[in-house]
Amino acid sequence: MTHRHKLWGALILLACFHALVFFAGFFAPYDFATHNRELAFAPPTRIHFVDAQGKFHARPFVYGLKNDPANSGIYATDSTQVYPVHFFERGSAYKLAGIFPSRLHLFGVDDPGRIFLMGTDAFGRDQFSRFLYGGRISLMAGWIAAGLSLLIGIIVGTLAGFYGGWIDQILMRGGELFLALPWLYLLFAVRAALPLHIAEWQVFLLLIAVMGLIGWARPARLIRGVVLSAKERNFVLAARGFGASDAYVICRHVLPQTYGVVLTQMTLLIPQYVLAEVTLSFLGLGVSEPMPSWGTLLAALQQYYVLSSFWWMFLPALFLIPVFLLYYAAADALQERLSSVPL
């Protein structure tokens, strides 16, 4: 397998996954806030092709779930109730990509049947739907925060590398300060200082600002290094010989050379920031109920009984691993490809 295949493979799989999250309303059978109080902590629904009579069905179906009133939390399948899985069926209203109102879902079963691919949480909400919806917040936060970090990193790194001297000293020492601060504790302090209930978008902005502002120091350092070597190249000197201004030299000759580092850093920072969001939400610094994010999905695992009794609550964490691996694979392949391009 060549780098080319590795890169495109990773990118295509990532694109598919992001499409799942972006069009969560279509791919998720339920809204993220739909409760099923009588079906709290229901295990993943089994999908059948062969019924109790041994008859094969071309269309997959699910059985109904019965809650045993004597043993709360123990569910029995009700094999008398057969709910065939319908594709492209109409269900709850949502907005596709947050804009176009729609009712079309990829799959679903008729009421009162329920299909929970990844089980349900304490309120009987479909974990699969919440996982897809949760990705919107987490991935968007990751992308925007990574973009913010890199933007600051590019500006700071370019100025420091290009001008050197005391500008370099101030900017880089500042960056080290940012690396050295105990951010987690500062974050707790900031969150404690804020009112208990703040609007969702405010939390979201706070998350992005915090992650973006903390993370710029490392990319700034890398970009500074590239700029340092870029500005020594003879074509930069030649441009100076034609009377070029600093702005011209930076935009035309120096910044284009940082593009490889920026691209690679972006692919590395995104999963890092998605994980940061997960950590912050896990610690209660993230978005609040009922809005899901990957962090709040995993926050349920803080309780011991959830951890010990309901294995499907782990599934979101399990599904995130290949996504992160794909990001790292893409970064790796990008790095290899860009380093083989003569700069």
Partner: protein, 280 residues
């Protein structure tokens, strides 16, 4: 030694007069950060006559390139004076700098690193015009194609990137770019050293043609005495950060005065002596 046919050397009008030029670099030792100075130029004197070629020879580290960079306004000398057409380059303000950037151009030894590999040939040649904000994008491109033709690169190669050209072609591209602002002085800092003999020959011819067509003045820095004897009207010899001798080429090769010049000339094997050694 066949020097090039002597032009009537017009010594009435100097284009450049370098007087007592010195340049120190302040550097710091690693770890201790103790400052120390490196003397790169020390009381260098030089005259370049308008429309002629002055070759500057000397061993590496003698300060030739520093002198070139000071002349091209890429470095600030520490002391002395550079008179260019009656004005002292050391006393320029920022606005005049730009004016002199147009009149003095430098060609680097390694054309590969002197050309941005991401830009196309036409973009590279038009760059000085774009920097000086001359004309429109269309007129600049037209001028770039003209210049490419002038240095022997067909205009249909305008979209090629520098890495698609050979070494000699890249140097031609660099020359075309340097000519874009119609300079008076072209400094060739070992510009032909990285090329093979055939390419050197062709580029020398091109440079001579361009000199005649645009009444250019060359400062040709080289350590290749054979090349110097072919192209120079005058030769200046540099040793230990100083110019030790400046004379017309014919005079210098016939009658070297300074002991260092003699040493340098003696080190150059003549073609006859090589042939003799081989046949022996």
């Amino acid at each position: 030694m066949d020097a090039r046919p002597q032009l009537a050397l017009d010594r009435r009008e100097p284009l450049v007069r370098v007087q007592h030029l010195s340049k120190q670099y302040v550097q710091r030792r690693p770890l201790t950060r103790a400052k120390f100075t490196v003397q790169a130029l020390d009381d260098a004197n030089l005259t370049i006559w308008r429309g002629t070629t002055l070759a500057l020879i000397g061993e590496s580290g003698s300060g030739k390139s520093t002198l070139a960079r000071c002349l091209a306004l890429l470095e600030k000398p520490s002391g002395g004076a550079i008179w260019f057409a009656g004005e002292n380059l050391l006393e320029l303000n920022a606005k005049d700098h730009s004016k002199f950037h147009r009149r003095i151009q430098l060609i680097f030894q390694d054309p590969t690193s002197a050309l941005n590999p991401r830009l196309s040939a036409a973009e590279i040649v038009a760059e000085p015009l774009a920097i000086q904000r001359e004309g429109t994008k269309i007129s600049r491109r037209r001028r770039a194609l003209e210049l490419m033709e002038q240095v022997g690169l067909p205009a249909r190669w305008e979209h090629k990137r520098p890495l698609e050209f050979s070494g000699g072609q890249r140097q031609r591209l660099a020359i075309a770019r340097a000519l874009a602002l119609e300079p008076q002085l072209l400094i060739l800092d070992e510009a032909l050293s990285s090329l093979d003999l055939a390419n050197q020959e062709m580029l020398l011819e091109l440079l001579a043609d361009l000199q005649a067509a645009h009444s250019l003045t060359y400062l040709h820095i080289s350590h290749d005495l054979r090349l110097v004897s072919q192209c120079a009207d005058e030769v200046a010899v540099m040793n230990e950060r100083k110019i030790v001798e400046q004379k017309s080429a014919a005079e210098l090769f016939a009658n070297p005065e300074h002991p260092y010049t003699r040493e340098l000339l003696a080190a150059m094997p003549s073609l006859e002596s090589i042939c003799l050694e081989r046949s022996a």
